[in-house]
């Protein structure tokens, strides 16, 4: 498969969106960043899957975002509570950049393992790395769920290139939605706790 410069566009989008997700303290921006991520995923998957099938990823991702967004109610739940201080943001930003750099550097090595074109390898890798970073840096249910969704979407990019089973794609969508639903359930519990 020939690598085109345009193929790197979703990679850039993914990097920006995932960085935004990592740094953003406002839940609305986080959900928007998640939606952008899924657009990038859709874009990358489009190069191997038909539009109809690739759109499943986009729709599922957006639905997941919507489910999560809908479960955050009230002013108290508006903000995701990590210390919004400059040092924290700077630390996260540097870590995020390091992850992107790391993925960029090891992508040829991953290429030995998985026969995926380099831009998509980097795109998926960035999502996986950022997802893991997100999970590792927080104990907040919403952030953990967002991290999981990011990680899974990165994997879905990889998997789309090596396996074209519609059934598996369907199941992965169910899992994406399931995680979002579970996240919504956890957020509801958290909201209840706050209101009580």
């Amino acid at each position: 498969m020939r690598t085109n410069i345009i193929d790197f566009a979703p990679v850039i989008l993914v990097s920006i969106a995932s960085l935004l997700l990592l740094l953003q303290a406002n839940w609305r921006w986080s959900i928007i960043a998640l939606s952008l991520q899924y657009i990038a995923v859709f874009w990358m998957v489009l190069s191997v899957w038909p539009v109809g099938l690739a759109a499943v990823k986009l729709v599922t991702g957006w639905m997941a975002g919507a489910v999560l967004g809908a479960s955050i109610t009230g002013e108290e739940g508006l903000r995701i509570s990590f210390k919004e201080i400059f040092q924290e943001l700077r630390f996260r930003f540097v870590l995020g950049l390091l992850i992107i750099l790391f993925v960029f550097l090891i992508s040829p090595r991953i290429n030995n393992l998985l026969p995926i074109p380099n831009p998509f390898l980097i795109g998926g890798g960035v999502l996986i790395g950022m997802g893991l970073l997100q999970i590792g840096l927080t104990k907040e249910p919403l952030r953990v769920v967002l991290g999981l969704l990011t990680f899974l979407s990165g994997f879905e990019v990889y998997y789309a290139f090596i396996e074209r089973s519609v059934m598996v794609a369907g199941f992965l969508s169910i899992i994406t939605l399931g995680i979002a639903l579970m996240g919504a359930y956890l957020l509801n519990l958290q909201n209840k706790g706050i209101s009580e």
Binding site: I135, P141, V144, F155, V168, I175, M182, L186, G193
Partner: protein, 469 residues
């Protein structure tokens, strides 16, 4: 009628129906536990894939159910695993009320079992990862105590179990590609790393184990023990499926040795960390780590004896975790604590909890006369015939867990007061608690004295895995 419909589809449907009536707990408990026992007994009696007569009727239960081109195949030899899962779940559910579990435990628990059995039976096997993940997602509401905050352990559980999915799917793909690859040896190796990581996440193998004691201490020990017992049993059976299907796995010495090393690390880790614990609930987590260590060592042995011990270990493990978790749950309900320092002399107040705790812990540790002793001895015997180093390390884990048993004895049986004021028995457990704890403790004792019982039940399971040895 096919077996997957009876033992997967119907229970799932029932779980959906009872979900709407989950607030009516006594009714639900009777209904679901009775249904589980029925499924277990039926699985034990009825042979899959054979015609049998029921009075004037002749029935046949097919082994296969196909949907969207994918098959669920429940072989005859697998019915013992199905029976075990449903039977233990039946007992687990029946004590749900005294354990303080929440309203989701029964409907979600039943659904979890049906998905786990679906994972065992689905072909191609890579769909198993997806079914297990659904089971995990369904289990989250059961783990959160009513009216309490979301805990870190539960989130970690969700994260680690979800991380398993990609690795298992990638392993499935890599194993399919490997025979056609120019460098198939390397490809197989990579596949096995994917597979290993997937199973490591599922079984919370070192270093992915940290969530286990965390969830154990976070309020729902009884549900937690149910979940890890069901998931680990299913995953271990699934691992047998992998080993049965791919000869490369069975014949790769580096892989097998790695499994043994990791198993030994887990036994040492579980045993030694358990010895230093201050809370009873965390012991459930370390018991699980310790037990999984022994299972991995069994797998690493790869002889007939190794696989047999793996299969036979399910029953004592499930029942000891059940008893331990029930006693911890009852203790938490009655005294609002499970700190060892705060339950000194518990035997004189709650003898049933104390004896059940001691019996369960010593069963897990491998004390002679109790259920897991013959299994642990067999594993040690097999390992000792090849390596004394591994034997010594495993013995260190064993000594650690027995040491914890000694600590438990000194905590539970030694009164907190220097005089003999509270050395008189004053039973504070309710009748229901006493009855359940007694019945389950008796099961542990019987399993220990007559281990041939579980051999006779599980002996046919290996028939489905003819390539293993």
């Amino acid at each position: 009628m096919s077996a997957p419909i009876i033992w997967i589809g119907i229970p799932f449907l029932i779980s959906i129906i009872v979900w709407f009536f989950r607030k009516n707990r006594p009714l639900i408990i009777y209904l679901i536990s009775g249904f589980c026992f029925l499924l277990a007994v039926t699985a034990l009696i009825v042979k899959f894939g054979e015609v049998f007569s029921l009075g004037p009727l002749t029935l046949e239960i097919n082994t296969t159910f196909t949907v969207f081109g994918r098959s669920f195949i429940l072989q005859d030899s697998e019915r013992f695993i199905v029976a075990l899962l449903y039977f233990s779940a039946g007992i687990w559910f029946s004590a749900a009320r005294i354990s303080g579990s929440n309203e989701f435990f029964l409907p979600h628990g039943l659904a979890v079992i049906s998905f786990l059995i679906a994972a065992l039976t689905v072909q191609p096997f890579l769909y198993a990862a997806l079914f297990v993940e659904i089971a995990v997602l369904l289990s989250i509401p059961m783990l959160i105590k009513s009216g309490e905050e979301i805990t870190d352990g539960v989130l970690r559980f969700l994260v680690f179990q979800t991380l398993a999915v990609p690795f298992i799917l990638l392993a499935g793909w890599a194993f399919e590609q490997a025979p056609f690859s120019a460098n198939s040896q390397l490809q197989f190796f990579q596949a096995s790393i994917f597979l290993g990581l997937g199973f490591a996440f599922w079984l919370s193998i070192f270093p992915f184990h940290a969530w286990v004691p965390m969830v154990a201490e976070e309020g729902q020990p009884y549900v937690f023990a149910f979940l890890i017992s069901m998931i680990s049993t299913s995953i271990l059976v699934l691992s047998m499926d992998f080993f049965n299907s791919y000869s490369w796995l069975r014949n790769e010495p580096v892989l097998l040795q790695s499994i043994q090393i990791i198993g030994t690390i887990m036994v040492v880790f579980g045993g030694v960390f358990a010895a230093f614990q201050k809370r009873l609930s965390r012991l459930i987590g370390y018991a699980y780590i310790y037990e999984i260590g022994f299972s991995l060592i069994s797998i690493g042995i790869t002889t007939e004896i190794g696989w047999e011990t793996l299969i036979y270990s399910f029953i004592p493990r499930i029942f000891s975790l059940m008893v331990l978790s029930l006693s911890v749950a009852v203790l938490n309900n009655n005294f609002k604590t499970d700190q060892l320092d705060e339950i000194r002399g518990l035997f004189y107040k709650s003898p049933f909890i104390s004896i059940a705790t001691i019996l369960a812990w010593f069963t897990i540790a491998g004390l002679p006369l109790l259920g897991s002793f013959p299994i642990k001895m067999t594993i040690l015997s097999e390992i000792s015939s090849t390596s004394i180093l591994y034997t010594i390390w495993i013995m260190i884990g064993l000594v650690g867990s027995l040491f914890m048993g000694g600590r438990l004895l000194s905590v539970l049986f030694v009164s907190s007061q220097k005089t003999d004021v509270d050395s008189q028995l004053k039973i504070q457990e309710t009748t229901a608690q006493a009855v359940f704890l007694s019945i389950e403790s008796i099961i542990l004792i019987v399993l220990g004295l007559f281990p041939s019982i579980f051999i006779s039940i599980m002996v046919d399971v290996l028939n489905a895995y003819t390539n293993l040895y």
